[in-house]
Amino acid sequence: MAGFQQRFASKLSGGGVGPGNEPWPVFFARMAEQAQHPLLKRFYAAGTPTGDTPLAEVPLVAIDFETTGLDASKCDIVSVGIVPMTLNRIYNRQGRHWLVRPRTALSADSVVFHGITHSDIDNAPDLSEQLDDILEHLQGKVVIAHCCSIERNFLDMAVKARLGEGVVFPMLDTMALEAGIQRQPTLIERMFGARRKSIRLADSRERYGLPFYHPHHALSDALACGELFQAQIAHHYSGATAIGNLWQ
């Protein structure tokens, strides 16, 4: 897994591009034309920064989902937390949290994780009713998540299931960044006892002197991820770093 992350991160640092090697702004422009559903049209029409935009100038938003399980093809979203931010400030006061009723069963295992129970979601609306609101908070911004493939795949699948077409956008992944920053020991080094460094959210945060936050609440996790991103950039990159070097 870590090896994959490392390869993935190094491949991306060469300059992240959208699906089919198409630059993200070009992809957005095309999708604004091709998408059928008005929500998605609006989302893509808001555009995305070009790859050479310095991080300091990019409006950002940290997100986190709690889900019924790990497999996006079988599981669904239970809650969404988002916190808008820039490199200077995390606008927690504009943070939002939605509970949504998943279309797949809530497993006992996941309840243990996020503490969201059947009775909590029985009264919650379906994601389709919240999608307008959620997409509006994401549009025009670059989205940050820790292990962004989860958020990317779940949202894409969930939207596809409801609107008949999915949604994809560039993302910054604090886990991939950390994997690139913390060079993992080679196989030889591991044979001599070197330990892999954990790039889980809580462990990564600790490296930057960030406080412990209880995991598995979408809003706290989004904030935790946003804080980690600020710390990673402050230590290893700068506001002048082009976003195209980091996003995927």
Binding site: R96, Y208, L210, P211, H235
Partner: protein, 626 residues
């Protein structure tokens, strides 16, 4: 819908000044808080820039500077900054820099202002200016122990019975019976004003009538003047109840006239006082005077410690505890001197045994060494009399050491021939110190400017005090020298994590609260007191005299009082904790053992002391005219 972040909410709930706010407002604050991360070494706030948020340190550490670049404070989790600028002109007054990687929570200005306006407990706790917060904290504490710090006038139940000095004892007794009181105040007679307004010349009690009239077989129509006591101990109406009690102990009387503007307005009796006061110190003093041997005296040490602990538990203030401990210490000395005179016979020439330093200032605590000296009659002849006073001094000082008042390491004891002088020699010494001040000499002589006679010709001590008061205030060179000496020990800047933080940013593990707190405060107050010719010895009393003389910047006298009380009480409470835990009490405190309240208020108190030292330096520069 705004969502409050549970992590932020939980954090606020656990930290001052939020923790006392109710849940609804805390949730609102949590939903209004933004967040920012600063890498170690990053400037967070620059002087003069606009400030729009209040900064709470969530993790890491931040250094706050004065405009001059001087370190103002070092902050860590739960501390906050930016309020000075927010409350003034919304410009940054104290720049701040991340010392470690730091996460801050940002509370927007409108919300901060609202909290500050609407919530009194919040505003009280936020450090706005060093002194305001301490003042409010001390005021709240004083409120909570009203009973023990009640003024003596709260005891008085009735008008005193006043009788003219010409009345017969029989007529006085009739009036006392009619009024059913156990004492009468005797005043001079004059036709043109009411009796009670006349000068108090004596006091007569049931016991005086029994002992001095009936037992002596005097006629009932003797004048009351013949049996009244003329050495009258009295208290002012606004003195504390505990002071009345201590006065009764000291003079061994059960009735104290209460005076207002020189006119008796009531009588406080021992039962009145006991109803208000804990009997602890009374009990100990009685046992001291009842002791039959040195061994019995030594055995009283646990009682002294218990008395100290109980006064702390009962929320007595530092003045009450300091005075009670001084009275107990003085009682030990008096009892030992009484025993010495029994053993070696009456003194060949009159003398006065002096208490010096904290005992004389009535600021004694549980850990204390003995500082004492002797004033001898001017007819003293070493060849004839020295032997006696050597024996007497050895007896007393050894006895004190055995009773827990360890020998003075600096040798300031009556056993030291250097500190056994005639009244004339003492007068000359004081004049020499004052007229020809030498820094090194004076540094070791501070203690002599706090003196009290405890036995024998105690009026000699008062004469020396009067001499010092008169001469010192007129010698700028002496005051400048004393002031310089008083600046030798400085307070730390505050606390940072588990450390004491010095003004140069250095850290240490513990702080000696006497050396870095109460002692420099007492030194500083002494200089001002000498400058205004005060004859008081207690630092609080001296401060009153200094404030009266109006030589301090406005408000700073009251600030000093708060600072002294706070530092003394922290020292006292930690000694009580040591006793409770079975440790030997000392003056040293580790920041980890300080409560939140103590850390915050101590920092303010240190700042007040530091400012007061700067003022002292400025005011008593030699050659400066004032």
């Amino acid at each position: 819908m705004q969502a409050e972040n549970i992590e932020i909410l939980e954090f606020l709930r656990q930290h001052h000044p939020f923790k006392d706010l109710d849940n609804a407002i805390l949730e609102r604050i949590a939903s209004q808080t933004d967040v920012a991360y600063f890498k170690a070494g990053t400037q967070i706030l620059n002087f003069g820039e606009a400030i729009t948020d209040w900064y709470i340190v969530r993790s890491g550490a931040v250094e706050v500077y004065r405009r001059s670049g001087e370190l103002y404070d070092r902050l860590t989790t739960g501390d906050y900054f930016g309020q000075f600028g927010l409350l003034r002109n919304k410009r940054i007054r104290f720049p701040a820099k991340a010392l470690e990687d730091t996460l801050v929570y940002l509370i927007p200005e409108p919300l901060f202002s609202e909290l500050f306006e609407e919530y009194e407990t919040f505003a009280d706790q936020v450090e706005v200016e060093d002194r305001t917060r301490l003042r409010q904290a001390m005021a709240r504490q004083a409120d909570s122990n009203q009973l023990l710090s009640a003024p003596v006038e709260t005891l008085m139940l009735r008008e005193p019975l006043t009788v003219p000095v010409t009345l017969s004892v029989r007529d006085v007794a009739i009036q006392m019976s009619e009024e059913s009181v156990s004492c009468a105040l005797v005043v001079t007679e004059s036709d043109d004003q009411p009796l009670a307004a006349n000068r108090l010349v004596g006091i007569v009690t049931d016991k005086d009538i029994r002992n001095r009239l009936v037992a002596e077989g005097l006629p009932y129509d003797s004048s009351v003047e013949d049996i009244m006591s003329t050495r009258i101990a009295s208290v002012e109406h606004n003195q504390f109840v505990f002071e009345a009690m201590l006065m009764m102990l000291r003079f061994n009387v059960h009735h104290l006239p209460v005076m207002r503007h020189g006119v008796p307005v009531g009588v406080a009796t021992l039962p009145d006082v006991i109803r208000y006061e804990s009997q602890n110190s009374l009990f100990v003093v009685r046992r001291i005077f009842g002791a039959q041997s040195l061994d019995e005296l030594k055995a009283l040490q646990p009682d002294v410690r218990n008395c100290f602990s109980r006064m702390v538990a009962e929320d007595a203030n530092s003045h009450m505890i300091g005075t009670a401990m001084a009275v107990i210490g003085r009682s030990f000395k008096q009892k030992l001197l009484e025993m010495a005179e029994e053993e070696f016979g009456p003194p060949p020439v009159p003398y006065c045994f002096l208490a010096l330093g904290s005992m004389a200032r009535e600021e004694q605590l549980i850990v204390t060494d003995q500082d004492n000296a002797l004033i001898l009659d001017n007819r003293y002849d070493p060849k004839l009399h020295e032997d006696y006073f050597i024996k007497l001094s050895n007896f007393v000082c050894d006895g004190l050491d055995a009773c827990g008042y360890t020998y003075c390491r600096g040798g300031i004891m009556a056993t030291n021939p250097k500190w056994r002088k005639t009244l004339q020699q003492w007068g000359d010494s004081f004049l020499d110190w004052i007229n020809n001040p030498v820094q090194e000499v004076l540094l070791n002589s501070f203690i002599f400017f706090d003196l009290q006679g405890v036995w024998g010709e105690t009026q000699w001590a008062e004469q020396l005090s009067a001499l010092v008061a008169e001469k010192a205030s007129r010698s700028p060179k002496f005051l400048a020298c004393m002031a310089r000496g008083a600046l030798g020990r400085t307070p730390p800047l505050g606390f940072f994590k588990g450390f004491v933080m010095e003004t140069d940013g250095e850290h240490s593990r513990s702080i000696n609260m006497k050396r870095r707190g109460t002692a420099p405060l007492a030194d500083l107050i002494r200089v001002h007191a000498l400058a205004v010719a005060s004859k008081s010895h207690n630092s609080f009393d001296r401060l009153d005299d200094v404030i009266e003389a109006d030589i301090l910047p406005p408000g700073s006298g009251a600030d000093l009082r708060d600072a002294l009380e706070l530092i003394a009480m922290v020292r006292i409470r930690h000694q009580a904790l040591d006793l409770e835990a079975g440790r030997d009490p000392d003056n040293s405190i580790e920041p980890d053992n300080l409560s939140d309240f103590e850390r915050r208020t101590l920092k303010d108190a240190f700042q007040i002391l530091s400012n007061a030292q700067k003022y002292l330096k400025f005011r008593y520069q030699f050659g400066r005219a004032f």
